[in-house]
Amino acid sequence: MSKRLNRRDFLKVTALAAGAATATRIAGQAAAEEGAGAGRGPQQWAMVIDQSKCIDCGYCTLACQAHNDINPDIQWTRVDPAGQVDGKDVYLPRPCMHCTKAPCVDVCPVNASYYRADGIVMMDYDRCIGCRYCEVACPYQARSFNWKAFDGPNPAVPDWGQPEVPRRPRGVVEKCSFCYQRIDRGLVSGLQPGMDADASPACVAVCPTGARIFGDLNDPASNVSKALKSHVTYRLRESLGTEPRVYYIPADAQAMEG
């Protein structure tokens, strides 16, 4: 492997360092309470989504709803039509961006949104007061409010998986967590998130075309590091400076089926 520091690496390292520095400052008490800000931990989880491979089957949304026991009215990850390339339909799956400089973390009046040391933007559902300021602030519409209590069976269970986290009560905001529970349990069992399906987010594990790639930005051998090195990628609404941890490989007509 080349030792040369290319521009992407440089930007990544700079972004991470800047993210760490900023998060340390911004997270304030959150950092003090959680022990670390975004970008501090040994692993930095990220997702790369290859738009050439997404066929809008919606499996990711369903698996997510089963594994995270989500109200059918809510989608943590959804698939949007995103125009055409050479007459072929292109889609854009949208989970939470897990921004390194997350507006939701900044605005939350009670620190219910916070950074984990591994970069995941987490929700503390026991702390959330349901003011919905984070929904107003999120540039990606990645947050959903529990307008209604979710009682009764989850239509996505058991076909798309079994619930792994407690159901959220009425009146709190929720969002994609990169399936932190699968990552944490997987790491304990010696699995590698991004490589082993059981330790990867449910959407990554279920995707039939392999459009979603997950892994550690700090590990040069991880799937995401390799994908970022070998492809031109972009992130959503980059001009806002939120530094998302979800990267997209734009659709390439030649790489697409049919």
Binding site: C108, V110, N111, A112, I129, P139, R237
Partner: protein
């Protein structure tokens, strides 16, 4: 039915006071029912959505706080600047402020998804969140208002008779008025501006993302808050002999409101004008909603023409300013203008949905009309405010410009000397 049995009922004499209480009581009952629906079923009974998560209640909340700004402004004028003769007006403003902030609290309790956790902001601090700062300042300022209002509650006849010593002690907090005014000024300036900044720091919504938000919210709160205090005082004085106003005092404060409106309108005009130049995705669309879209009647007619220009002219013209009717109309219009500004600001930012898809920003629009339950429960909060004020006028003499503070002064008197009056 035979009409042999005739019962002669004495002609019921319903006093206007009783009728007023009955109307408010009915509105409050309906609102209690609506509020119970919200608490039992959750917020899906509203028309709020994930795209428009803030609506009617947040406007009520923001307006209640803005229109309470007369309290800190007039208390600062009286106790810090030393304009002592306005003390009776500041007294009314303090009571109006206390009502306004409790109204805001009620609206917030309805609006947040977990009202049982309202205290979380006091325990789990996020000092980077403007909403946290607003919550803390509002709580602290409400405490200040309670202390500032103690001398007013000491006027309650029942209390004076039954617990004269407590009433006396409550009266004495008045001696701390200057210190309370300093605290009130600090907390109010912080959160009145921060409420604008709550919107002003949201980079994802370019229509709001500007530093003027804080300044405009502050300026409009001062104008609107003083106007509401004068307006309710004048209306009360017209309706009941329990309220006594000094019309010359009202006129002077109204004259200040007129010039404050000039200043506010200047800032507001440049705020709107400057945004017209160059296209900025999201911002331009928000402005279009306001100036030529569904909110344009609100903006041009209610906020700018009736809410600012007409009252400014009415209050700057000596004839209409001195005329109690026109002065009351003008002050009421200012209040309408401030409420409209809050409503429009919230909606023009939320109704524009900026796509996160790559490429040139695609703009879509959403819509919001409050549900009946939102409106009824909101009107109930207003009814609570009116009830509290009416009781205050009747039993605490909150609008009584003949009342002056007992200014005790120790004078050394030699034997045989006469004390000058």
């Amino acid at each position: 039915m035979s009409s042999k049995l005739r019962i002669r009922l004495p002609a019921p004499r319903i006093s206007p006071w009783f009728a007023w209480l009955a109307v408010l009581g009915m509105v409050l009952l309906a609102a209690l029912y609506a509020g119970a629906q919200v608490f039992m079923n959750g917020l899906w009974v509203t028309n709020l959505t994930d795209l428009v998560p803030w609506g009617f209640w947040i406007t009520l909340d923001l307006s209640s706080i803005a229109l309470s700004a007369g309290a800190f402004t007039l208390c600062a004028a009286v106790y810090l600047i030393g304009l002592k003769r306005y003390q009776p007006v500041a007294r009314t403003a303090t009571f109006v402020g206390l009502i306004g902030y409790t109204m805001a609290m009620l609206a917030l309790l309805l609006d947040i998804g977990r009202p049982d956790r309202f205290w979380h902001a006091l325990v789990y601090w996020n000092s980077h969140s403007l909403l946290w700062e607003v919550t803390m300042c509002v709580m602290l300022y409400l405490t200040v208002l309670v202390f500032e209002s103690l001398p007013i509650f000491a006027n309650f006849g029942w209390l004076r008779q039954r617990l004269p010593r407590l009433a006396n002690a409550m009266s004495k907090t008045h001696h701390y008025a200057p210190y309370l005014a300093i605290a009130g000024l600090a907390f109010s300036m912080l959160h009145q501006s921060s409420l604008g900044a709550v919107y002003g720091v949201i980079k994802a919504r370019p229509f709001w993302y500007k530093p003027e938000m804080a300044v405009l919210f502050m300026a409009s709160a001062i104008v609107g808050g003083i106007s509401l205090t004068l307006f309710v005082s004048m209306v009360a004085a017209r309706l009941t002999p329990k309220a006594k106003i000094n019309d010359a005092l009202m006129e002077r404060v109204a004259y200040f409101v007129a010039w404050a409106l000039v200043g506010y309108l200047y800032f507001r005009a440049w705020d709107v004008l400057a945004q017209h130049y160059t296209y900025e995705p999201g911002r331009t669309e928000g402005l279009e909603l306001l100036t030529s879209g569904p909110l344009s009647f609100n903006f041009w007619v209610l906020e700018i023409l009736l809410g600012a220009i007409v009252p400014m002219v009415l209050l700057l013209t000596p004839y209409t300013r001195k005329h109690p009717f026109w002065r009351t109309v003008a002050l009421g219009l200012v209040v309408v203008g401030v409420i409209t500004y809050r409503w429009d600001t919230n909606l023009s930012g939320l109704l524009v949905v900026i796509s996160y898809l790559p490429g040139p920003a695609a703009i879509k629009y959403t819509s919001y009309v409050p549900s009946l339950i939102e409106v009824i429960s909101g009107i109930g909060i207003i009814a609570y405010g009116l009830l509290a004020f009416s009781l205050g006028v009747r039993y605490l003499r909150v609008v009584d410009h003949r009342l002056t503070v007992e200014e005790t002064k120790t004078v050394e008197v030699k034997s045989g000397q006469t004390i000058p009056a």
